[in-house]
Symmetry: C2
């Protein structure tokens, strides 16, 4: 008998209708002879509604009380989902993060899972129950409720799969799986049957947010097989596992496995920053303290004792950045700063890159071929990202998809 | 430094506006130099909304999952109230039933508190925090969430006051205190400065539901001083304590301390019930199994081997009773049943009754004097209740209030 962990996001359970559909999906998995543990998020807009309520009462919601508040969202959805399954005639039980054994580190709003005690979940599975677990939450050693922060439910699901030694952790989404590029933009994009953890990580970081990076890292660490699939149909999705080797024709192994693009890019440049030790630490420390996620950073060569620093973030950070930089420019002092939001990021990703040094050259040549200027470049072992003008991003994604031989799906060895 | 426990119901915290008003009230109590622990219910309609959500998904909501669901209501209000106090500059912390140390018996939907571990609450109070505790809930020894059932938050507050050895447990309501009769009906009714636990209990049972009977019983058992007062103004309410002795003129001690009336009365009569052992047990066992609260029961003298049984309940039980009695009449068999809802209950209450045998006679004579027929009678040591026609109830309450000398408030020794 296999153990299957399934994870459903908030929009999947956003209404009684959808809740029933999710319950049917779970029931089918149980009917197929599996032990099923399900991690579920808060229903639809519940979390946003609770945040709005708090904002009516306080301008600075304290983190502990926000965790106390927000953790109710998942508690509501697990109880309703368990009831729905019981109504359909299935034995089911809901468990809060605490009851399911999630021990967290004690940091409110963005806790890490430090240990899992799966005794209760296993016990309920062995009694024949479908176990419905609240994602996104756990309790620390003092018994305080912690939430896991953004994307926490994916991480909850993977952690549960690790603890249960589950055969697979199915992540249900509103897309069919992981594609070689965004199919809405690149018509020839195709769903990859398999992908490695590292490639998935880069995809996630790239803004193709099918899975949260933390959960992929955890899956990689413990070798948990992930199955990213649609909650709307029964087609096979994309399997994420250690080594993806799916192509019959090994000689035609793909160097690049996907092209990702992201319009949510804001570039900030600080001009005339003093070239002295600690300045970069000061700037990015301030941004980090305000929880601003910085993606790419470029420091220009110094002219005399001053230099320019550019970095990219999400566009919704604009107001915070303006406030912080106005202060920083005065304090350092720097000359001025500038924010640009008419840019986008395009990336090529592939584990094959490590052994194929020509990928960067092909990328730059391809972009040049469509008359696309590259503003910033960032690379990892298996990814190359370029900041370009946002008007060029679709053309760039299409051109790179073609250039790296992705337009024709290869024969698949299933 | 005094320890004060305060309890606010759901309507008191039903909106951000009201939440702020409650927070100010709590802050005033803290400013006066008290250590304050607050028990709060779910906001306004939250509980009803959650029940409605469950009913969209299941026809028979399982009790365990309902407790999992409904306990989120209090968790939301405690976190929001703690935030509001913090916003106002007060140190405050919210605690769930589990964190506050409520150990319950394990019965879902109507758990009893079996023990309280007040270490955490005391610790937070000693740290200078105002402690906001979720009413209505606790956890059993397996870590399962139990709710306390109807009126549970009153009981939560009293239990906390017991555990903390609080100086007073203040129950905030939308009325100014406990009155000698319903002031909307009896214009001359006045607020009693003091009342005994037993009188309060009878008042509660009578439908003058200022306080839940369970909480009064608990307060009596441990001698917790209750203060029933308004959340809308700062006037003194009614103190509930062991012996109420408030009148200067002891000779003029009131035999009857209050008149209560209740329109929510439904009378069911079963005709021709077999006069054999176990029949009453069968009937009332079935009603109890469906959680129908039966108030008065009268068994008529038997004619031959058959008799009639009448009982009263709340009017909202009508449908359930019809269904159950249709079956019972067929099974026993009995001859038929009849349900009447054009009746009401009027009661006189007073600890002084025990030593004053004339109260029943005065009651019956007074009702007769206004041409009011008595349909059923029930008595306890400190209460006499009569079922009468509903059109007569206002007149009856006024007449009894006058007959027992309640119209003029006595001089009070405060």
């Amino acid at each position: 008998m296999s153990i299957v962990v399934q994870k459903f996001g908030g929009s999947s359970v956003g209404s009684p209708e959808r809740m029933r559909r999710v319950a049917r999906r779970i029931a089918e998995t149980a009917d197929a002879g599996n032990k099923v543990a399900v991690v579920v998020s808060a229903m639809g807009d519940t979390t946003d509604d609770l945040i709005a309520l708090a904002q009516q009462l306080t301008t600075r919601p304290p983190a502990r009380e926000m965790d106390m508040l927000l953790s109710t969202g998942e508690q509501i959805s697990i109880s309703l989902l368990a009831m729905t399954l019981q109504e359909m005639g299935y034995a089911a039980i809901s468990l809060t993060g605490r009851q399911a054994g999630y021990h967290t580190c004690g940091t409110y709003a963005k806790a890490k899972i430090v240990a899992m005690d799966s005794v209760r979940v296993l016990d309920e599975l062995n009694k024949g129950n479908i176990v419905i677990v609240a994602g996104f939450q756990g309790t620390d050693k003092r018994g305080e409720i912690n939430t896991l922060g953004r994307g926490g439910s994916d991480t909850s699901a993977v952690a549960l799969a690790v603890a249960l030694e589950a055969d697979v952790c199915e992540i249900f989404t509103d897309v069919d799986g992981v594609f070689t590029a965004d199919p809405r933009v690149v018509r020839k994009a195709w769903k990859m049957p398999e992908i490695s953890y590292d490639e998935m990580l880069e995809m996630a970081v790239m803004g193709a947010l099918v899975l949260q990076p933390r959960s992929v890292e955890l899956a990689k660490q413990y070798g948990v097989k992930l199955h990213v699939r649609s909650s709307f149909n029964h087609s096979e999705g994309t399997i994420v596992k250690e080594v993806a080797c799916m192509y019959k024709d090994l000689e035609k192994e793909l160097v690049v496995s996907g092209v990702a693009h992201d319009m949510n890019v804001l570039k900030t440049t600080i001009f005339g920053v003093p070239d002295s030790p600690g300045v970069a630490g000061e700037i990015f420390g301030r941004l980090a303290a305000e929880k601003i996620n910085v993606d790419m950073i470029i420091q220009s060569g110094s002219r005399d004792t001053r230099q320019d620093i550019s970095f990219t973030t999400g566009r919704d950070e604009r107001h915070k950045i303006e406030r912080i930089l106005t202060e920083i420019v005065r304090q350092l002092p720097a000359e001025s700063y500038m924010i640009i939001d008419t840019i986008a990021k395009v990336s090529v990703i592939g584990a094959g890159m490590i052994t194929n040094p020509g990928v960067a050259a092909t990328t730059f040549r391809t972009l040049a071929g469509i008359g696309c200027n590259i503003d910033m470049i960032a690379t990892s072992e298996i990814r190359i990202s370029c900041i370009i003008d946002e008007t060029k991003v679709t053309e760039a994604a299409l051109a790179l998809h073609t250039a790296f031989g992705l337009d024709a799906a290869p024969a698949i060895d299933n």
